[in-house]
């Protein structure tokens, strides 16, 4: 390289080079020899010091150009016409630890991805050869000016994200799943899309069975958000994932204190021993723990534990009492919980109560449990910690990468549209400005 070969290398461009994580980009390579096979490759060095990569095999046209948004990939971690394949098909590089999951912890800094183009159709050994060209791109969870505030007061723990502007804004209470801890990236992204978003920490990782979490913790969290001077008090919704969805449905149905304007429940079930504390959900599950299966890799499949729940009324949230629009998003290949079966039962119960007009159910084929913001890599199985870190195993979440990624992209659009419709005024409403 260097002075020896004076030919100009191909030019690789990824536009925009800085974007929010749910924005698309356009990857173009120019100045290649015509009809030449090349590999487009993406590489990310995670905060946990693991490497993730994706790649696609392309052929340049008569002008020597490859345009990822229009051309087809003929091999690699994705095939076909996939403008964003270099992101959603990422997986840990060969030789990595098992059961990895990619989740950004520090949302104030961007995710850096190096996109390169290699000569020929390469499938391995990317670090050993020099690419023809490479660029660095930034993927951000936070728009400029979005504020991140640690909240440790009035009995609530979590992180608050506030959009820029005078406000006030609609609000969202953001609740994660059974792994516990504080995962901020979805809230940061929702704030970047115009919602004051409060992600509530309701138990620390490993504390599942010991945490003494009562419903009034969530009511307090919701109240904190509603009373915040930057929040429009009657435009606060709840967004839940997995266990967080269960809590969401319970709050919407049973709480006499709070009235969410709308709810989004991703991969959730309505199994909840009425009147009991949250850990009752886990206790209920573990009564059925003999029903945990393992697959040929020894990954845990928890699905079956939830199947018996739908028959016993006292073990379900009385969803017929829900009075706000609700969007359920589920994957048909969810191996962690029978969320599609739950959704069907929820629909039955709500119909019986005359509330079916409030419910929108969206379910995606070959999609697993972890339905994340778009273009996030798919995790079919990852490491999971239970019982104060005494138990560690790999949990099977399900889903096949390509359909699961399509579901993430489609679901996010539907979720944002649902939230906008319910939490931002539609222009037909008479309003005084």
């Amino acid at each position: 390289m260097g002075k020896m070969s004076q030919t100009v290398p191909p030019i690789l461009s990824v536009l925009p080079s800085r974007a929010l994580v749910d924005e698309k980009f356009v990857v173009v390579v120019e100045n290649l020899p015509p009809g030449s096979p090349v590999t487009l490759h993406s590489l990310h060095h995670s905060e946990e010091n693991d490497f993730w990569e994706a790649f696609g095999h392309y052929i340049s046209d008569h002008k020597g150009t490859v345009c990822v948004a229009e051309d087809l990939s003929f091999g690699g971690t994705y095939t076909g016409k996939e403008p964003m394949g270099l992101l959603w098909s990422m997986r840990p590089v060969p030789g990595s630890r098992k059961g990895l999951r990619l989740r950004k912890r520090d949302v104030c800094s961007p995710m850096l991805v190096k996109v390169s183009v290699y000569s020929g159709h390469v499938a391995e050994g990317f670090t050993e050869q020099a690419p023809l060209a490479s660029v660095l791109i930034e993927r951000w969870y936070m728009a400029p000016g979005v504020q991140r505030i640690d909240i440790r007061e009035k009995g609530v723990r979590g992180t608050l994200f506030i959009p820029t502007g005078p406000g006030p804004f609609p609000g969202l209470l953001d609740m994660w799943g059974g792994a516990g801890g504080l995962v901020e990236y979805r809230s940061a992204l929702l704030a970047s899309r115009g919602y004051v978003s409060f992600v509530l920490e309701y138990f620390a990782p490993g504390e599942q069975r010991s945490a003494d979490v009562e419903l009034n913790l969530f009511e307090t969290g919701f109240g904190f958000l509603k009373d915040h001077p930057q929040v429009i008090p009657d435009k606060v919704g709840i967004f839940g994932l997995s266990l967080g969805s269960t809590v969401t449905m319970y709050l919407a149905a049973e709480s006499t204190v709070i009235k969410p304007r709308c709810c989004v429940c991703v991969s959730g079930s309505h199994g909840y021993a009425r009147g009991g504390p949250l850990r009752g959900v886990f206790e209920l599950m573990f009564k059925n723990s003999h029903m945990i299966r393992v697959d040929e890799n020894n990954y845990h499949i928890w699905r079956e534990m939830g199947l018996g729940l739908t028959s016993d009324l006292s073990k379900k949230v009385d969803v017929g009492k829900i009075n706000c629009p609700m969007l359920l998003v589920n994957g048909e290949d969810d191996q962690n919980w029978p969320t599609v079966e739950c959704a069907e039962d929820i629909a039955r119960m709500m119909q019986a109560a005359g509330k079916e007009h409030l419910l929108t159910r969206v379910q995606y084929p070959n999609t697993g449990h972890l339905i994340e913001p778009p273009y996030s890599p798919h995790f079919r199985a990852t490491m999971f910690i239970m019982h104060d870190a005494k138990q560690k195993f790999i949990m099977l979440w399900g889903g096949q990468t390509k359909p699961h990624s399509d579901a993430q992209e489609d679901a996010w659009r539907k979720i944002l549209s649902f939230l906008q419709h319910n939490l931002y005024c539609s222009p037909t409403l008479k309003a005084k400005m």
Binding site: K3, P9, S116, S134, P144, Q147, P427, K432
Partner: protein, 466 residues
Amino acid sequence: MVRAHISLTTIRQLIDMKMLPCISLHRNLACLHPAVGGVRWKSSYRQAPLLTAAPVRALIDEQISIKARFLPPCCPVTVCAQMHSEDGDLWEAFAHYNTNADGTVNLTSDQSVGGSYLGREPMGLFWGLQPAPGSREGLRLRKKNVETPYTVLLSLLEGHVSPSERQSTELAAIFTERCYMAPGVRRIEIRQDGVVGTLFLPPGPGPFPAMMDLWGMGGGLPEYRSSLFASRGYASLALAYIGHKELPGPQNTLNVGDSYFQAAFHLLQGHQQVCADRVGIIGLSFGAYLTLRLATQTGVKPSCLICINGPVGSVIKLPDVDGSSGLFDSEKKYWRYDDQGHASFREVSLPANIAPENKVKLEHLPCPLMYILGEDDLSTSSIENANLIEETLRAAGKSQLLTRLSYPGAGHLIEPPYAPNSRASMWSVKPEKLITLWGGHLAPHAAAQEDAWKKILDFMESHLRL
């Protein structure tokens, strides 16, 4: 609330409060009882308008798409941009729109009916930025530190107002970042072989085609064009030659000669990440003269040249080995003043005022040349010089090398797009304050910058890459 006599300091403080992330302020608000102040609306009919920009972080030469939604239909609104320069001055722009029947405003398609610009101007809020009322005189917006972005606050106000009036309700606001360097671009200070400059390299293994980047008699080391070239895939060396403390001799004189510029060109050409046979030169103003001078010397073989608003000759002689140097101020007899005492340097570069032996031998032009001129250039006689270049090349049978771009209404400072033009700015403060005229009217100059930049990049692509 009486707003009529809000002082400038208070306005600045209010803007500063909004501009800087006020984490502590909001924390305090969060702890207060809900009934505080007039901050809260309880009605569910309260509009929550949404202002978006995509992408919200972009390179300075990228267009962004600004939209407002969830507004009442057919209502007057003002979209406003505000930013602080690195020197702390406030720059503002605003435009008046009427919302569509669906309650939206889309700056990419809708028409401004008043303010800093009129008509359909997707980027008008950026190139229309002007110093806020009460600012110091003679300001020019130039990024010194290219590693950080400009943060521009875009806001949506009720009604057709002027932002300085501060009387309107703010409906929504967002921050956008305007960057001069793409991620992965490397900035390298060059202090080698006597050469003072900054090299920008694109990310990737290279090697890359390259540009040598020359500015005018204002001196210093402007990096913002080079950092953008590197963001577009070209290695680029911004070169200082006057008015820089690391150059020899007094700062107000030209103390470097041909050997300096040749050394810089060879340094760039010889860099291991540069394709030696694909190096071009770009120059603005006096830098354009230096570009032509360097290109017509032996031992230097650029692949292409871009000259913006520059003369073919100089009344200043470049110092040769003896060290004799020239002073720009000695040409004061050609300066013309307008009624405000602002100086136009235009006639200094009239071909008639330059002796033939001080003109570049254009017959020896070795490569394609793009000459860009603003027809309202008040600093250099660009039109006359362009004509001379054209005639000389025609006589030498080299017309095919010349591409001439002429922009009506544009001034001297044709720079990367979507930044505001200064029609005049401070030239010197000692021995007395002097403001010089650059020319150019805001809207046509902005159009010229946008078009010229595209053509510059295409020209570089054809001659340095393909």
